[in-house]
């Protein structure tokens, strides 16, 4: 299918993503549709593990285009994100071309003339041939439309954010030695953030904003259905109810969707069809990753489990 036939309506997006086993809410689908139609980047925020990165991956799959991923971290700079000169290649070429360089210079009678002659050739070594494209430049150079994922942009320094502005608003970059490079095709850009640091207003302004919260019971249940199709209906309901209750507790790290899915898989492996306090205790390590959280939950575990089990008895 041609890309032109993709992203035709919000409903179509929801259907197709479901086929790619990603359940997206109407809010997500609307934002995707707008981003595609208006050519705007999407800034995705939300707690850990609600499928921010997965959204970009699925979009790439759906569009049938390449996913270019840039993982941000503290100290990330232009040479890692945008481009770098191939020093080794430059060096090698100067060595190989030594003879021809000698010839050029030897014909010169004095130093100024030699320099002049060299000046006519210097750009050879700073040309696109010696350019090593990093993710951002690669995304701009793609012939086909691509999906660019700038992951955890909040982890990078503020200076890097400022540097992103040019790319995100005009889809072009300036390389001092070569000039401005414009995008051959506009990539669909996703930026994700976990809010460890406030993203600057300038960056926010250029993006559409999408907040993905933890899913409601119904949505989570649908997601599990898609990801773990073999699970029994009653266990699924109990599981979702349990997780939803745990998220309401005051704990360090609430279980994410990914962890819920893992847990569902574990329970399936163990051939369990009904939650009980003992089983929950044994498998708790799948959903809770802090010892303190396990302690917090421990006293309420029986209540929560019995409440979750009751959901299926009604």
């Amino acid at each position: 299918m041609n890309n032109k036939e993709r992203f035709t309506s919000v409903e179509e997006i929801m259907e197709s993503y479901k086929a790619e086993s990603y359940i997206c809410s109407k809010q997500i689908a609307t934002t995707l549709f707008l981003a595609y139609s208006l050519g705007k980047p999407i800034l995705v925020e939300g707690p850990v593990g609600v499928g921010k990165t997965e959204l970009a991956k699925t979009t790439a799959k759906y569009l049938g285009s390449e996913l270019i991923r840039l993982q941000c971290y503290e100290g990330l700079d232009e040479s890692k994100a945008l481009y770098e000169w191939k020093y080794g290649k430059q060096l090698l070429y100067t060595q190989i071309l030594k003879d021809s360089l000698d010839k050029i210079i030897n014909n010169a009678s004095n130093l100024t003339e030699a320099m002049d002659k060299l000046h006519q050739h210097e750009d050879v070594f700073f040309s696109p041939n010696f350019l090593e494209p990093r993710p951002l430049l690669k995304a701009l150079q793609m012939e086909e439309e691509s999906v660019l994922l700038i992951d955890e942009v909040d982890k990078a320094d503020e200076a890097f954010e400022a540097f992103l502005l040019e790319i995100l608003s005009d889809f072009q970059v300036s390389i001092p030695e070569i000039g401005t490079i414009e995008a051959k095709s506009r990539p669909l850009v996703f930026l994700t953030s976990n809010n460890t640091r406030e993203i600057s207003d300038a960056l926010r302004r250029r993006c559409l904003h999408l907040y993905i919260p933890f899913p409601e019971s119904q949505l989570e249940s649908d997601i599990i259905q898609v990801k773990v199709p073999d699970i029994s209906e009653s266990l699924k309901i109990q599981l979702v109810s349990f997780i939803q209750q745990v998220r309401k507790l005051e704990i360090k790290k609430a279980p994410s969707i990914g962890e819920t899915i893992d847990w569902a898989k574990v329970l399936l492996l163990l051939h369990i069809d009904k939650l009980s306090p003992e089983i929950v205790r044994e498998t708790l390590s799948v959903i809770l990753k802090f010892q303190e959280d396990v302690h917090t939950l421990d006293s309420k575990l029986d209540d929560i489990t019995s409440k979750a089990v009751k959901e299926t008895e009604v």
Binding site: T31, L38, E158, R204, Y211
Partner: protein, 449 residues
Amino acid sequence: MEVILQRFFSILRESGVRISVGESLDAMNAVKLMGYSDRESFKQILSTCLVKKISEKEIFEKSFDLFFSAYMFNPRFTDSIDETGIGIQELKKDLSNISQKIIAGDQAGLMSIVRAALQSVDFRDLKLVTQQGLYIRKVMEHKGLKDIVKDMVMLSEHSYPGAGRMSMMLEKTKSKLFDYVDEYVNQQYALHNDFNDIANDENRLTNTAFSNIDQRQISAMTKVIQKLAKQLYTLHSRRRRNYKRGILDIRKTLRKNSSYQGYIFIPQWKYKKIQRPEIFVICDISNSVQNMSRFMLLFAYSLNKTLLKVRSFALCSNLTEVSHVFKKNSGEVAIDKIYRGEDIDISMGPTDYGQAFKDFKDQYLSTVKSTSTVIILGDARNNESDPKSKLLKEIQEKCKTLIWLNPEVETMWGAGDSVMDEYVQYCDIAQECNSINHLNKTLDLILRA
């Protein structure tokens, strides 16, 4: 539709949501693209294009529901009455535009007149609840609406049987209209007043003395303080980065480039490693300075969270470290815990600075480095006990800078049981500090030092 959207944007802006022109254009384009037949998706479109912060989503939700409430767009005022008695047709022609519409039951026509009246009034200055009456009158006095009254007078002069009924009809509609306008003005008040003064509030708070801050403003103050801490951090981190661009480091460059036969391809730069200043905050938490220390602790907490190595201590009859409380709890909770003395070893008797300095010297002075800054927050009211200013001198000698921030004005230092006049000679900086502005200046000083 565009006009309505524009008005909605300006209301959001007033409420403190920052919307740029570009964003409003995006929103318009998006609405054009998707249409606005479905309320839920219309809301999502606006939300995704305009509101870029999670904290602003709530304001958006509230404003959206108020602004686009069904009542505003679909009121029902009038049923037609069919009067065809003698002379009535003549009479109808004499009626004004609005009354004709009412009599004919022309809902849409009536609504457009009402809207025109509402739009002619600028609600942006509606800030006080007492202004509502004035604004209702402004709308009702608008030419289109005022005509109803004129027509009622005119009708009462005729004695046709239909005239009375028409007059009654007008009267009834008029009172319904009044209710509608009343409701509308009420909503406008909610939109324009409620949470709109955020920008101004912040400014005002910065200048308010700590002691004058009431409970209601505390959360607002917290935000201001956190913002300030963040600003200071940005300022400081930028300075640090500048330092990194030093001069060519020849030794490092040769080493790095030895693999290229000595050709220098990757130059290495010298850079200074900047020490992050370590800060010791000693905060008086006795009742006399309670309001002030609350914010000082909050500030210490914000610093702790965002930037530097900060160790915090609480001081009353003795002194004890509270850094661990900050680490484990969120701001307000931590401060409450400190005041209740939970998890920390403090006795809340009369303030004794002498004893506190002794505790500090015995337990913590060894960790103070020559690069550290010590900040003491307190009024230096020692309840007549021994000030032991020699201990303060020792602390000063050990650290880089000793700063004393006193909530009292300088003329009060040394008055009564205050021993500030004695301490002041051992402080590198001693300042009155009683508002965010003061705090800002001082902290700037520390980071630049």
